[in-house]
């Protein structure tokens, strides 16, 4: 009788320990997966920032007119610059893609895309739920007047395409660029 109780107790304690370990490892696994997705989202964001920062810095380069920015709103921008330094002024637009699926809400992940003046839109980053642009004048005050824009603050949230514990791992990225050719 005592032996049976000892074995039963051992099984129960062992089971509890086993379940605890399983739960612990499951959590650690989730964290590891979230970390991996966060890593992917961050890499996607930094790649996008590399592209955008380089081109935003060049706004107005090689362009003698003072209308460097053709369109500037809170979610997209169109500007001009000789990006390839080939003597030809390029027109480029950045903004989020349109809603892909019917009924998709506006905060659903979308594609941040770069659209050249003469060409098709190309993806710069995926899984973007927020892409916001704020504009500031020479004194650092917010402005909506294109001619007064001297610096641009870009911010975006990139989410991984995975649901881990009902959350989407992601990163927030923000950068303020002062294009030196916009004077």
């Amino acid at each position: 009788m005592r032996t049976i109780m000892e074995e039963a107790g051992g099984i129960i304690i062992g089971g509890v320990i086993f379940l605890t370990l399983i739960t612990l490892f499951s959590r650690i696994g989730d964290t590891a997966r979230a970390q991996s997705f966060k890593d992917a989202a961050q890499e996607s964001t930094t790649n996008a920032s590399d592209i955008m920062e380089r081109e935003f810095r060049l706004i107005g380069y090689g362009y003698t007119d003072t209308t460097y920015i053709l369109k500037a709103d809170s979610a997209s921008i169109t500007f001009r610059a000789d990006l390839n330094d080939d003597g030809i002024v390029d027109t480029v637009a950045y903004g989020l893609s349109a809603v892909v699926y019917a009924g998709q809400n506006t905060t659903a992940p979308r594609i941040l895309q770069r659209t050249p003046g003469h060409g098709l839109a190309a993806p710069v980053a995926t899984g973007i739920t927020k892409f916001a642009l704020d504009y500031f004048d020479r004194s650092g005050n917010p402005t909506t007047t294109i001619a007064n824009i001297r610096s641009i603050r870009m911010s975006m949230i990139s989410l991984a395409d995975a649901d881990i514990d009902s959350t989407h791992p992601g990163v927030y990225w923000e950068r303020t660029i002062k294009p030196k050719n916009m004077r």
């Binding site: 086993f18 650690i28 970390q35």
Partner: protein
């Protein structure tokens, strides 16, 4: 529990643990590496842009500086600055380039390059002499015209000068005055009455700036090209400035002056000027109006002009003016002008009369030209680069 099963279970858990923690560590490392990469890239970029900024300041202090900085420690990295004269958008400029390197020689090494184009050692090609005149010139008094290049302390710089006088008419002179020019390697030459490196008579203008009056100046006079490239003598400040490579449509200089960019002023009554002059000073006198005495203390670009081309500066006196003077008429200069004077009018006034002197200063002319061009392109920002990349 069977001891063997226990061992197997523990071993399995350990393997899973190692796998999970390895993955976790790898992701964390990637995230850190991403941040490091971004930081190092920005650091390298900052080094490069700072290096360009240092180069620009050095050129601002010494327009002739082209030495560059082979290696300079900056922000835990190394900057290498090069400076060269080049062309940008069809006109000459100075290219300042800096390569910023961070973590040199390691796998994390990042290199970024920044470039700025500055207005170069270019002045409008219409300004072919220290004194450019659209009619006969009669030199009187002790007036000095020196086309040799001078620094800010009036020291002569070799081989970068221009003609002393360039005129579409003739030049008559007393013996007391001096005309010097270094449009050729021989440097200062006092045989100014015949030397076409010093004085060009009967010149004709071409916008490539190559027409200095021809090869026949030894005979004292019938110089002046007659090639198909000849253009009308520029008769407005905008058309003169347009020979620097930028195009200034008529009225541009006036509008810049009216914008007060870089301290620019626009007046119709010279008594309302604020001194010292700076930026573009545009004095638009009424028809036949005379500014007398003319106080031209200051620097920049001084324009005395009106629609009837007869705005007159009379008895220029006071302190030194540094830069470019463009006027319809000018009589008697009794002060020092470090730069160049362009007499646009066709009336036979006496720009070379008086006790003053015109000392050509390429640096001042270049600064003035750059200010004007920036005024047009950037609403007068004090930043001196044409373009950054």
């Amino acid at each position: 529990m069977n001891p063997r099963a226990l061992v197997i279970m523990i071993a399995g858990l350990m393997m899973i643990s190692i796998k999970v923690f390895t993955q976790l560590a790898g992701s964390s490392q990637n995230i850190s590496a991403n941040v490091d990469n971004t930081y190092l890239r920005e650091d390298a970029r900052n080094i490069a842009e700072t290096g360009v900024g240092i180069g620009i300041r050095k050129i601002a202090n010494n327009p002739a500086w082209r030495d560059g900085i082979p290696s300079m420690n900056l922000f835990d990295g190394v900057a290498s600055v090069t400076v060269q004269d080049t062309m940008y958008k069809g006109f000459s400029c100075v290219k300042v380039q800096c390569t910023g390197t961070i973590m040199a020689g390691t796998p994390e090494q990042h290199i970024e390059t920044a470039v700025a184009y500055l207005y170069g050692d270019t002045i409008p090609t219409a300004l072919q002499g220290a004194l450019v005149v659209n009619h006969d010139v009669s030199q009187k008094g002790s007036f000095t015209v020196d086309g040799r290049d001078h620094d800010d302390n009036d020291n002569v710089l070799s081989r970068t000068g221009v003609l002393g006088i360039w005129t579409v008419g003739n030049v008559q002179s007393d013996d007391d005055h001096q005309v010097l020019g270094t449009n050729q390697e021989t440097g200062d030459d006092n045989s100014h009455h015949v030397d076409t490196a010093v004085v060009v008579r009967n010149g004709s203008y071409s916008d490539d700036g190559e027409d200095d009056g021809g090869d026949d100046g030894e005979e004292g006079g019938s110089g002046g090209g007659s090639g198909s490239g000849n253009k009308p003598f520029p008769s407005s400040p905008d058309s003169i400035m347009s020979t620097c490579g930028e195009h200034f449509s008529e009225g541009t200089l006036k509008s810049i002056a009216q914008s007060h960019a870089n301290g620019s002023q626009y007046v119709t009554d010279p008594t309302k000027l604020t001194y010292p002059l700076q930026g573009i000073t545009y004095v638009e006198l009424p028809a036949g109006g005379t500014w007398q005495p003319t106080n031209m203390s200051g620097c920049g670009t001084l324009i005395v002009h009106n629609g009837t081309h007869d705005a007159c500066m009379q008895n220029a006196a006071g302190g030194t003016f540094k830069g470019i003077v463009m006027c319809d008429e000018i009589n008697k200069i009794n002060c020092e002008i470090d730069g160049t004077v362009f007499d646009m009018g066709s009336k036979n006034d006496d720009p070379a009369d008086g006790t003053g002197k015109i000392l050509f200063n390429r640096g001042e002319c270049r600064t003035s030209t750059g200010q004007v061009a920036r005024g047009m392109n950037s609403n007068g920002s004090s930043f001196s680069a044409i373009a950054w990349k």
